[in-house]
Symmetry: C2
Subunit: 352 residues, 2 copies
DNA sequence: GCGGAAAGTTGAATCGGTTCAAAATATGAT
DNA sequence: ATCATATTTTGAACCGATTCAACTTTCCGC
């Protein structure tokens, strides 16, 4: 039942009466081989059932696996469950596919097991989906393979990282609302504790998540340009997974001067807010405008479709795959811009 | 900047004054090496910055890549978009992870490109997500690596395939409803044309999708047991992605003897039906019960949560990964049972 | 018919390890 | 001490290809 015995290039060469080198050329640089010989070798290969040079041999010789590893400090299911991961991975997969490269998923959720996967995966380099844990970076450094850190939280200057311009993006989001005429805002912030409850600016500045800080700074920058002070804009803590959004909203809507626009630090939260708003009979965008952050696929499907700033998934994918495969690692932290996608949840505020 | 020069096992052995064989043992079978020597080699390795034996060398020698390829005749994004694929892949990923094996995703969507990926992926074998296209099987056979066909549609006896018991599952679903007291049914069928519209049994038997035929047979078998004839149960064609479910429902609800139970050939369709039913003000399960098929994660989240027959994702994953990695290919088509998951969309029919 | 260039082919080295029979060394019993 | 046995270590073969310098053959023009 087992494959009798894999025939190898040498067998073919022998059977065809040529040197192994020539046989190799038949498959890799056929133009170097005389047609007659080429055909003969091919014929023999066919007869013997030789499927072409095995990638294994090639790998060893060339050193290139032609595959990149994607690692996260989460269970593997994370890659298929999280919207951000799915979206990015789709692009990464496509980019790799176009280049004929493979992708290998590796999880490092289980403490000790961690080192193993990263240290033994057969890849040319890694994409690290960080999120604060520098442990991932450390382990990967030990392996000695090139890697790119994605959404790395610490700002160590010497680790190659590709990141997004959180500051510019949220500033853009706020400016969009400002341009529409909004003057009263509320922010739905993540990474600021479980919520619900208003979080003072100092506390926001003190969070250990850089991206949260930057997003807040971006909102404030735009608002300040328009003459709106930080304190005028309440930041409410909600959970990363959308928990407590309803509660936060109740607080926000109860204010005497109800805001006309909502800035959410993630699409997931914005989407949750949309649902909560509908449940409370508040019409979007007529009564209140909402802007998200991330540009997950679901954002285009909501009712109404969500206005948001979209991460440059494709570019992140292209840049990081190229970094690994073309040996073109970013020197430090490289920052990519997001784009504002205006959809149905933003409109001018009702006058009065 | 580039890694000075990768030090290899031989360098370490040399520097430590032992043979390469001993050095190899230090890393792979340390118990064979005297403690003193072992520590010395380890120390030298550390000093030199040797990260342990490179997987590349090991691969060539052992022949095992320790990774399995997952291929579909769809763009790579399919793996992250389709609920079934995501669910199964999550399990596959987990099973592989537990065994320290990697997974590589390969798409064969682009016609000619097809051969390349499958033929050059660095894996020990493939999981083929078929769906009628035997082309995938053919190409993979040419590569000569072990493979398992998942949801293969043709029933060629000699290709190793792992499948689910469609017949038993739908029979179970129908029996559940029957046991609750239902007597009037309608079936939402896929793979029977675009719909909407009732499809006669002969036509259902003639569809080229075996699984659709089997699912219908399962429903009929249970119904017949209970003395309900095939013709008494309308099968309505809807689209695979849930298209036309609303239209089909309108037809079904318009019947003079409105059915009290709905059998859907996929969760996606059932979920869509739930939405359409709600939009039409028909209460589930009070006025009508609904049973799905597949057990996708979303089925647990719907309101009310969907009663369905769940595919044995974990077992499919385990069985197929083991088939590849343990060289334990199914001889032909191997069939796994599904389980009925009773949730909130089924209840006894209102009497009268 | 000859020299030189072009085209085609060969053979050996190499990639980075693992494996295993055989050799060397240590241990224990007598 | 001595021999048998157990523990370590060695060295060379091997895994399946690619690469390239060197060698052979073919082709051309004169």
């Amino acid at each position: 039942m087992a494959e009798a015995k894999m025939i190898k290039l040498r067998d073919v060469a022998e059977a065809a009466g040529v040197s192994q080198g020539t046989a190799s050329n038949v498959f890799n640089r056929p133009e170097l081989v005389r047609e007659e010989v080429r055909e003969r070798v091919r014929e023999v290969a066919r007869t013997l059932g030789y499927a072409g040079p095995s990638p294994k041999g090639r790998l060893l010789r060339s050193g290139k696996v032609n595959a990149i590893g994607i690692a996260a400090a989460e269970p593997l299911s994370y890659f298929f469950a999280d919207p951000w991961a799915r979206r990015l991975l789709t692009e990464v997969a496509e980019v790799c596919d176009a280049r004929g490269a493979g992708i290998a998923l590796v999880s490092v959720a289980g403490g000790k097991h961690l080192a193993w996967s990263i240290e033994s995966a057969l890849v040319d380099g890694f994409l690290l989906r960080c999120g604060g844990r520098e442990l991932l970076v450390e382990v990967t450094q030990r392996r000695g393979l090139p890697f790119v850190a994605l959404s790395l939280d610490t700002s160590e200057p010497d680790v190659p990282a590709i990141d997004i311009d959180d500051f510019g993006a949220t500033r853009m989001a706020a400016r969009h609302l400002l341009a529409l005429g909004h003057r009263r805002f509320a922010i739905l912030g993540i990474g600021l504790g479980p919520g619900p409850g208003r979080v003072p600016p100092e506390e926001v500045r003190a969070t250990r998540f850089v991206n949260v800080r930057e997003r807040a700074r971006g909102y404030w920058a735009a608002l300040t340009e328009a003459g709106i002070a930080e304190d005028m804009v309440p930041i409410h803590a909600v959970q990363n997974d959308g928990g407590n959004v309803g509660a936060a909203l109740d607080l926000i809507l109860a204010a005497e001067e109800r805001p006309t626009a909502l800035l959410a630090m993630s699409d997931l939260v914005a989407l949750e807010a949309l649902k909560a708003l509908e449940a409370r009979g508040v019409r979007v965008p007529e009564e209140i405008s909402v802007v998200g952050f991330d540009g997950v696929p679901e954002a285009a499907e909501s009712i109404p479709p969500l206005t948001t700033v979209e991460q440059p998934y494709r570019r992140i994918a292209e840049r990081s795959v190229s970094a690994i495969l073309d040996d073109d690692l970013p020197a430090g932290r490289e920052i990519l811009p997001l784009t504002l996608v205006v959809r149905g949840t933003t409109a001018p505020p009702v006058s009065g």
